[in-house]
Amino acid sequence: MDILLQLVFSGIALGMIYAVIAFGYQLTFATSGTLNFGQGEALMLGALVGLSLVGSIHGGPYMSYLLMVPLVIVFGALQGAFVEWIGVRPAIKIKSEFGWIMSTIALAIIFKNVAENIWGKDDLTFPSPLSAKPFMILGANVQPMQVAVVVGALAMMLAVELFNRKSIYGKAVVATANDRDAAGLMGINTRLVITFSYALSSATAAFAGVLVAPLTLTGATMGASLGLKAFAVAIIGGLTSGVGAIVGGLILGIAETTTGYYISSGYKEVPGLVLLLLVLAVKPSGLFGKTAIKKV
């Protein structure tokens, strides 16, 4: 029992990381029907910028962890807006179906190369703001930082949802998500809303970056595999559902850790991917997604 609990706890911590990044995919998909395939790189840039501020790598530490978080979120937002402006807006303007796929991937590669030149090619340690010493819950070991990841991720998703439902700006986002053309006719500046959704999506990714960095290692290549797994999570959970991202993330995270223990560590990633194939075959819009009807 202890073992299962330990695996589930680790799986939850891992799954929440996937969920936050998957949530970022959903934000841009809702408003513009496009995805930022550089989501993993946005996370990586957030983590590395955070490291420069709180770590000693660029002559720091300049500030405490808590002070750094808002700065990293602002940086993420700017980076997301930049991606939208360079990579996505031209594609939307000419109603290109696939242009944004290539341009967001291209930008992701460029960001990775830039990061390699600024922060080097090695993985670096991120100083943990909390003690690394684990404590016991029901016989399983949990690190304070793992709890922080789960709480931080949930809090951020909740904040974004509240913003969308309660504020007038959030309503503009929801309106654009429902019907972009109609929202435009109602006087909503849909172009700005799309830019904003990209900014928000990269800001969440950057925040996720500084959350997970103390648990994993920080480096230019940290984003690629996380971004890919989060994409699988977004597909499993459904690209239109926030709850889907959380559930999908937890499923994948727990599937990975339990398979690694009970079956074989060599097959750790298989169940998640099998699930992905199943979902695509049975319910292509995802476990929690609304079925999209495309009128042609």
Partner: protein
Amino acid sequence: MNFALKLLVAGVVLSWSTAGMAADPIKIGVSGPFTGGSAPMGVSMRDGVKLAVADINAKGGVLGRQLQMVERDDEAKPERGVQIAQELINKEKVVATVGFINTGVALASQRFYQEAKIPVIDNVATGTVVTKQFVDQPENYVFRNAANDAIQSHMIVEEAVERRHFKKVAILADSTNYGQLGREDLEKALDKKGLKAVATEKYNIKDVDMTAQLLKAKQAGAEVVLTYGIGPELAQIANGMEKLGWKVPLIGSWTLSMANFIDNAGKNGDGTRMPQTFIEDPTTPKRKAFIDAYVKAYHPPNGRMPSPVSAAQGYDSIYLLAAAIKQAGSTDGPKVRAALESLNEKVDGVVTMYSKPFTKDNHEAITAEIPVFGEVKDGRVVLAK
């Protein structure tokens, strides 16, 4: 143009071209990963090679010719290694190639050198099969001056079972060629002691969570964890142990001395032991000169080499090659190979004094007696007591 002038021009051109030929440098290929998780080894190896080339050139080169490095980043990818091998052989026309950090890259690339009859000195890759790839052919062009996995796994098991009396051992190895071939060697070495690992686990490069693997080892009652992997993931293992509140000694292959393991594991890495052919410790004048020269030329952070073993073996590989070219009196591949197999002159390297390092049947310069155990202590590798 009158005849005398033509003669003059022809004479000038001819003398210029022959002068050019005399000064033609000896090209030596250097293939290694300078980016990615293996980069500390690749970069240190290249820098070690650079130092040796500069030393030799300062003393007038070999056969009156300067040595010239042609370095290429193989990114630890076998397919890149193959491209580079073809480029170095056909376009750059190298006399020999040193390098190869990753066993998989070495195995994929060496075929081209073997076919072209160009000697290769593997100065870091440790897979036991690396030098055995072409033993069935009359001439084998692959040499090595790194401690192979058979030697290392034997040492690791010896340390864990004989010296420290652990009976229950777990093996954690990554899913690359390096990790899996190393795991086989560890299992063979354990078998000789009549032991079997209580848990044998696998993980992928870039994995961020080792809970499942470590829990299995813990549940099986492992008293020690033996590792075969590279720096960043090894650090995840050490840190993962802390996450679980479970601490047993880590003993593993030489990669546990990589800076990216030591830095990322921090205090969790203290006490970790691994076989080393060279420790950054000026125990002999030759070693002191080498360490000083390295630190002066490349300013590694905190005066610590990213991978001292790779730097030292990179340095020595050039001296071995230079001695062979000198003895052969030629840069012809088969002659250099023959010279390597019967080196008359002793080569004073950083790792050891090489006396007849290779023979026709033995292409391994590092014997079981040379490596020692290093131990991580306060962010540095020191000689284990």
